[in-house]
Amino acid sequence: MSNLLSWIVFLPLLGAVALLFLPKSKNEWIKWVAVGVTGLDFLLGLFLLLGFNSSHAGAQFLENFSWIPQLNVRYLLGVDGINLPMVFLTLLLSFLACVGSFGIKEREKEYYFLYLLLTTGMLGTFLALDLFLFYIFWELVLVPMYFLIGIWGGPRKEYAAIKFFLYTLAGSLFMLLGILALYFYANPHTFNMLELAQVAYPSLFQQLVFLAFFLGFAIKVPIFPFHTWLPDAHVEAPTPISVLLAGVLLKMGTYGFLRISYPILPEGARWFAPAMGTLAVIGIIYGGFVALAQQDFKKMVAYSSVSHMGFVLLGLAAFTTDGFNGALLQMFNHGTITGGLFLLVGVLYDRAHTRDLNSFGGLGAKVPIYAGILTYFSLASLGLPGLSGFVSEFLCLLGIFITNRLFAGLACVGIILAATYLLYMIQRVLLGPLNPQWSGLAEINAREIFTLVPLMILILWVGIYPKAILDLMTPALGALLAGF
């Protein structure tokens, strides 16, 4: 199929438009159209995976059309080893979270409309190879997200939604200035990322523009000290949106480094590497400690994201093959693991209507299947060998160890912290005497298990045989590293 990438990006948008023509009362239809569209899109993603030539480092499935000739803006989509895992992750999570959205019972038409719009935005961000196009998709993610948190969120949803929106918008405006600086430096002026990577920029220019992009990406990741929107947004967002927020949106930030800052501004990236490593270590340890102190289950997982995303940054700061491989793999693994954890938090919250960790206890005997799955995801998250989290965090540490042993040593503290807060959580929720309040708690149902099983398989598979996915990434990352 030609234009496969365009189909992948715009199929959800078509679905969203189709939803507008369905009457509000047909809730069942609306739901199934959304699931059908995301499911079909996922199948297209599998198709892409099959057609992808993993030995080739450059972009494939290129679609290149002139869009605004006066500004030399092109509609340029392409896939390579860096964005393929992200696209796959996005397609998988948006399908699973769509199935996980069945708990949403009000204003469903608007919900699924915005959900599909968000999906198009996320996919476009990962597939665009033209900076103008990239920026448009990047911003397109923002607006539906505002509504999804603001309408269907928890008690403080309005505050969380506008905080998320303004933080990200402020960051992306600086990114826009960076994009313009690159555009005007290149001669002839272009937004094409592949061409911009060929231009030699002076050092000071690289550093300044790197900082402008850094602001945009750092807020999205989020890197300490720009992380304060994250716990608010996560706690208030409905479960499926938390899944996408943690699983996909945070990756947009680190993907930005790999796709734009690093290849286009190699000198700036080198210059910033020590700061990046420091911020990574701060994020890992700070996020871990704060997660340890949380009473709220969801907030704990949110802060654990800050910690785990720190490993991605650590890998990026390493400038070694292992580090880059680890960073990209960690992005993928964090998406599957934390996405699963948020789904599990949602399962519990739907039944108990509380997320207070201290109010649970002894659920292991009451809901054994749920307990088993929760333990599985927790162990993956804390880096148990044999599951995927271990592989990527190990690679990140291996990568940074060659460059900076101090960072590597400090980051290991984060792994201990992860084990501590996750096991402490398991102890408080699953072990001990059963709180009689929960004697009527229902077991996880088949639909919920269906949303988790694919993630569990991926976690195990990547944990045992990471080569399968690393082989896809290595050529592109190798080419990236060769540019330094």
Binding site: W67, I68, P69, Q70, L71, E110, Y135, I136, E139, L140, L142, V143, Y146, F147, G150, I151, K157, E158, A161, I162, F165, L166, L169, A170, L173, F174, L176, L177, L180, A181, Y183, F184
Partner: protein, 470 residues
């Protein structure tokens, strides 16, 4: 070209004048007053029909009225804005419809005059003509004290600004002995006039231009006038005279004072930052939607000024692109505001609570307009903002670019105040907002403009670039 030769090129303007006078007469004999705006609309369309793109600049009436691509562009823009204003006005309870429509037709002529003026005298006359019509239109609800107060305030401010501008023009004439912009330019270029004095005259003239485009520190009239005027007039004032004010400003700066750009460029950059910051910061606590959009329109003028301050090719294109985008967006936003205000009888923003449940299409459209004002892609406002940001980066006005970026984030906050009310706050009742046919026609036009220009800006940019072949 003498008067007789000029007449064939002057047909569109004659049509405007004829329909303006004709409607005044018809007002006595027509019983169904609702027809009058439609007839006015027909006059505008007839005038548009006779507009021809001039291949080369035509100096009509001994050079007092220049028909060049630039003035052609602004003529089309002005006529389009007035036409949309008629559509907007149909749903609004207006007394003395005949006079109202007729004044707007004169206004269309006045705006054309501003765009085509190429010498100091015509610039002054054009600006005064438009200003006086504006005072009348602002005070049109003569039983409403706020409307009267606004009109008087506007008149006092406007007279002062015009006076200062005229003072500057007279000094410039005294220095160069000419009122023609091109001749003054050649005098300046020849070094006959001291640079400092020339700058002083420009500074004085800026009072008049700044007043029209609501540039700080000449913006003080704007919030009260925008709040007090009949809402369709407010909608018109935030785009029409503003666009033409920019046209005159741009022409004067580029025809006459281009060599002094290094001097006024930084001044305008500072004023631009001041304008956008004042507009945005004061807009945040507003609870009256007209006042909020009024301050927002001051801030928008600040963004457009960026392009003028930098004045490179991207910046000038940006000014024009921004003006089209802004005209579509702001007229659309006011269209929605009028529908809601008519329904509730006041302009408080609490009225918007739960609007998405009561009138989903209206709420969705207003959201798109507000997003476009905030410069979120892929909508028209983003293209405009993109251009002015680009010009600032290209011209290395880094401080300006950073201040504008921060301002955009602040602006998003208050635009989202309305969005939040519409979507996140539950409605008090389920009574939908009534809107007539003209509302839907106007909404469709502005909405198509906002979305189309965002996704396919190509024809719009091409139109602008054709206007700038001076």
């Amino acid at each position: 070209m003498d008067a007789l030769e000029s007449l064939p090129y002057f047909i569109p303007d004659l049509i405007l004048l004829a329909s303006a006078f004709g409607l005044l007469m018809l007002d006595f004999s027509i019983a169904n007053k609702k027809l009058l705006p439609l007839l006015g609309l027909a006059g505008i369309l007839a005038s548009l029909l006779f507009c021809r793109y001039p291949a080369e600049p035509l100096p009509l009436f001994y050079g007092f009225f220049v028909l060049d691509p630039f003035s052609f562009f602004f003529k089309i823009t002005a006529l389009g804005i007035v036409a949309l204003t008629f559509l907007i006005s149909l749903d609004y309870e207006i007394p003395y419809v005949g006079e109202y429509v007729s004044l707007f037709l004169f206004m269309a002529f006045g705006l054309t005059l501003m765009g085509a003026a190429n010498n100091l005298l015509m610039i002054f006359l054009g600006i005064e003509f438009v200003s006086i019509l504006s005072y009348l239109l602002v005070g049109f609800l003569k039983k409403d004290p706020r409307s009267k107060e606004a009109s008087l305030k506007y008149l006092l401010f406007g007279s002062l600004a015009s006076g200062v501008m005229l003072f500057g023009m007279s000094i410039l004439y005294g220095l160069t002995g000419s009122i023609d912009l091109n001749q003054i330019q050649s005098q300046l270029a020849a070094g006959q006039v001291s640079k400092g004095l020339a700058l002083v005259t420009l500074l004085l003239m800026m009072a008049g231009f700044g007043f029209k485009i609501s540039m700080a520190p000449f913006h003080l009239w704007a919030p009260d006038v925008y709040e007090g005027a009949p809402t369709p007039v407010t909608a018109f004032l935030t785009v029409g005279p503003k666009a033409l004010g920019f046209a005159v400003f741009l022409r004067v700066l580029h025809t006459t004072f281009l060599e002094l750009q290094s001097d006024w460029g930084y001044l305008l950059a500072v004023l631009s930052m001041l304008t956008m910051t004042l507009g945005n910061v004061i807009a945040v606590p507003q609870t009256n939607v007209k006042r909020l959009l009024g301050y927002s329109s001051i801030a928008q003028a600040g963004y457009i000024l960026m392009g003028l301050a930098v004045s490179n090719a991207t910046g000038v294109t940006g000014v024009l692109v921004y003006l089209i985008a802004y005209a579509f967006t702001n007229l659309g936003a006011f269209l929605c505001v009028i529908a809601v205000s008519n329904h509730f009888g006041n302009d408080e923003i609490e009225n918007y609570a739960g609007l998405s449940e009561k009138s989903p299409v209206l709420a969705f459209s207003l959201t798109l307009f507000l997003l476009s004002l905030a410069g979120i892609p892929p909508l028209a406002g983003f293209i405009g903002k993109f251009y002015v940001f680009a010009s600032a980066i290209e011209g290395r006005f880094l401080t300006l670019a950073v201040v504008a970026a921060l301002n955009s984030a602040v602006a998003a906050f208050y635009y989202f105040k309305i969005v939040r009310l519409m979507y996140l706050t539950p409605a008090a009742n389920r009574e939908p907002v009534f809107a007539g046919t003209s509302f839907w026609v106007g909404l469709a036009l502005t909405l198509v403009g906002v979305v189309l220009m965002g996704i396919f800006p190509l024809p719009f940019i091409a139109f602008v670039q054709k206007a700038l072949i001076l």
